[in-house]
């Protein structure tokens, strides 16, 4: 097993406020890894550091051993890091299919094509339709995002990201707002991905996390608090005290 993504003593400060402190983290290829922690623990900040939305104050980020600490977002995407957002970031005025089309066209290099209609790139459309099919979105392909129920929108959020065919997939609360009857679609879709992909998921839904993850990292106040298999984490009394106990009350 190779290490896909790695951080070495990464810290991020906003003025005097430390959002991430000395994080050493590894995501292996094929990993199904979960990142949990109470609200404000710095989970999304950490994702932003990995994807290049934010640059760390100190420390290094490595992708397959290559230093990408200061690399731009778009370049990291080209190297195979893709993410979903905690709050949907969709092309709200466009149809579901167009949303996914944009993502795939970008990946396959069709997006700079000016003189042929988008509709003639059957390869892109076929791939997009296939993706929508796995996410049970094909019947909504023609609908505009703004008219779609929130749960369905979450699936589009995932579809756009999967359209990138990432090697590293970062999912920021993918199931938040998805009716529990449909949350299995997300897990099924992830199961259908090539096994070599490393997946990191952030979620508050402990059922989902424990069903999904082979490994769990607990983040508290910007620092790694504990890491281990679901079993280990579930049994860790400290984690239960600071986090699981708290979550159980929510």
């Amino acid at each position: 097993m190779t290490t896909l993504l790695e951080t070495r003593s990464v810290s991020k400060n906003f003025g005097a406020l430390a959002a991430s402190t000395d994080i050493n983290f590894k995501l292996e290829s094929g990993a199904r890894h979960a990142l949990i922690g109470p609200n404000g623990a710095g989970k999304t900040t950490f994702i932003n550091l990995l994807t290049g939305v934010l640059l760390p104050s100190s420390g290094t980020v490595l992708l397959k051993g290559r230093d990408i600490t200061t690399m731009e977002q778009a370049q990291r995407v080209k190297l195979g890091i893709a993410r979903t957002f905690q709050i949907n970031r969709l092309f709200r005025g466009l149809s579901v299919l167009e949303n996914v089309y944009i993502s795939i066209a970008e990946r396959v290099g069709a997006a700079s094509q000016m003189l042929a209609p988008a509709g003639t790139r059957r390869d892109v459309i076929d791939e997009a339709m296939a993706l929508l099919e796995t996410l049970k979105l094909a019947n909504d392909a023609h609908r505009t995002i703004a008219g779609l129920p929130y749960g369905r929108q979450r699936l589009v959020e995932l579809a756009i990201t999967l359209g990138q065919k990432p090697e590293v997939l970062l999912l920021d609360e993918p199931a938040a707002g998805v009716p529990s009857a449909e949350s299995h679609i997300i897990l099924d879709a992830i199961d259908a991905l090539p096994k070599s992909i490393g997946v990191l998921i952030i979620d508050h839904d402990m059922d989902l996390v424990f069903r999904f993850a082979q490994r769990i990292t607990v983040l508290v106040r910007g620092a790694i608090f504990a890491e281990g298999t679901p079993k280990e984490i579930g049994a860790n009394p400290d984690v239960r005290a600071v986090y699981l106990g708290q979550a159980a009350h929510v």
């Binding site: 370049q75 092309f91 466009l94 149809s95 167009e98 944009i102 997006a111 000016m114 988008a118 023609h142």
Partner: protein, 337 residues
């Protein structure tokens, strides 16, 4: 488990594969433009102005309607094109109509590229102000460069040789100008139409709808915006060049805030990001301005202002959006049965 349906049977896929096809009504505006030529030979001066405005609004639509670049300085490119044609002709360097337009497009594109390179890092009010100041700067430069540009008085003495060596431009009955401009508009329209339905155009709408997400899918957002802005500037330059040719003169009004604000109003009025919004908006605005100002020379502004307020408050998609609202409403009426 059933086999997945072929892409083209899905309504979403159908919409995407079919949207660039010519629709039945699409020749209509062009037929109307031709009909205008035969029915209103005495209004062709107005007609040429209208066609040029459509082209200018179309160029803005590309930047604003498709890529979401909110600019108040688009007249900079219109003026650049107009002055290019005007100065080449006035100083006796070059005046063949069609090749002059290429020069106009090139100069406007160069300015669009250079300013886009610097300005398109910003958004919102900052971008609005920067585009506006850039235009004001060009206007002031044209004013100060009196010896070259004619300054405030404008450039006169622009002689345009007959088109293809055959068709003479007549300042009083601009029949030739009208058809010539209509032809150029058609060519530019086909180009813009191709562009907006291409994958490139699709990615521009993506930038408009959600810039942050475009970054996240790895799109070179700034490069795309600069390319789009440059193309848009070139088309605006062609419009300006046509203006200079049709009027046989150029002056500072081609560069002013008045023109930039008017074209913005026209586009939003017609409906931006809709390709035909430029047509509908220009016709509605110019016909109203033209005839209201004739009937009520001092008060036409009031009616115009009222119309803008009503559109902004109640019909967000402009006049074409109004059409959508009505169609939806009709559909709902029919749906229960």
């Amino acid at each position: 488990m059933s086999a997945p349906a072929p892409a083209y049977e899905n309504p979403g896929a159908q919409a995407l594969t079919g949207r660039h096809r010519l629709r039945l009504w699409e020749p209509l505006p062009w037929l109307l433009a031709l009909a205008f030529y035969f029915l209103f030979p005495r209004h062709l001066g107005f007609g040429t102005e209208l066609l040029i405005t459509v082209l200018f609004a179309l160029s803005l639509d590309l930047a604003l309607g498709y890529a979401g670049i909110v600019t108040l300085g688009h007249a900079a490119f219109f003026g650049a094109g107009a002055y290019t044609v005007g100065m080449l002709a006035h100083h006796g360097i070059w005046n063949e109509p069609i090749t002059s337009l290429f020069a106009a497009a090139a100069v406007a594109a160069a300015i669009g590229f250079a300013s886009g390179l610097v300005l398109l890092r910003t958004t919102g009010l900052t971008l609005l102000m920067l585009t506006l100041c850039t235009m004001a700067l060009l206007e002031e430069a044209a004013n100060l460069g009196h010896d070259w540009t004619g300054g405030f008085d404008g450039l006169t003495g622009i002689t345009i040789p007959p088109l293809f060596g055959l068709f003479e431009f007549n300042p009083l009955f601009p029949k030739v100008q009208y058809l010539y401009i209509l032809g150029v508009l058609l060519v530019c329209f086909v180009f813009v139409r191709t562009l907006v339905y291409s994958p490139f155009g699709q990615s521009l709408t993506g930038i408009r709808e959600n810039t942050l997400r475009m970054h996240a899918v790895g799109a070179p957002v700034r490069t795309r915006l600069i390319v789009c802005y440059t193309i848009s500037a070139a088309v605006a330059g062609v419009a300006g060049g046509l203006w200079a040719q049709a009027n046989a003169y150029v002056n500072l009004s081609t560069l002013g805030l008045d023109r930039a604000a008017t074209v913005l109003i026209i586009l939003v009025l017609g409906g931006y990001g809709r390709l035909y919004g430029a047509f509908v908006g220009a016709v509605a605005y110019m016909v109203l301005a033209h005839f209201l100002s004739k009937l009520y020379p001092t008060a036409w502004q009031l009616g115009l202002g009222l119309m803008l307020v009503i559109i902004a408050l109640f019909f967000r998609g402009g006049i074409l959006g109004m059409g959508d609202v009505i169609t939806n409403w009709l559909r709902k009426l029919r749906a229960p049965s």
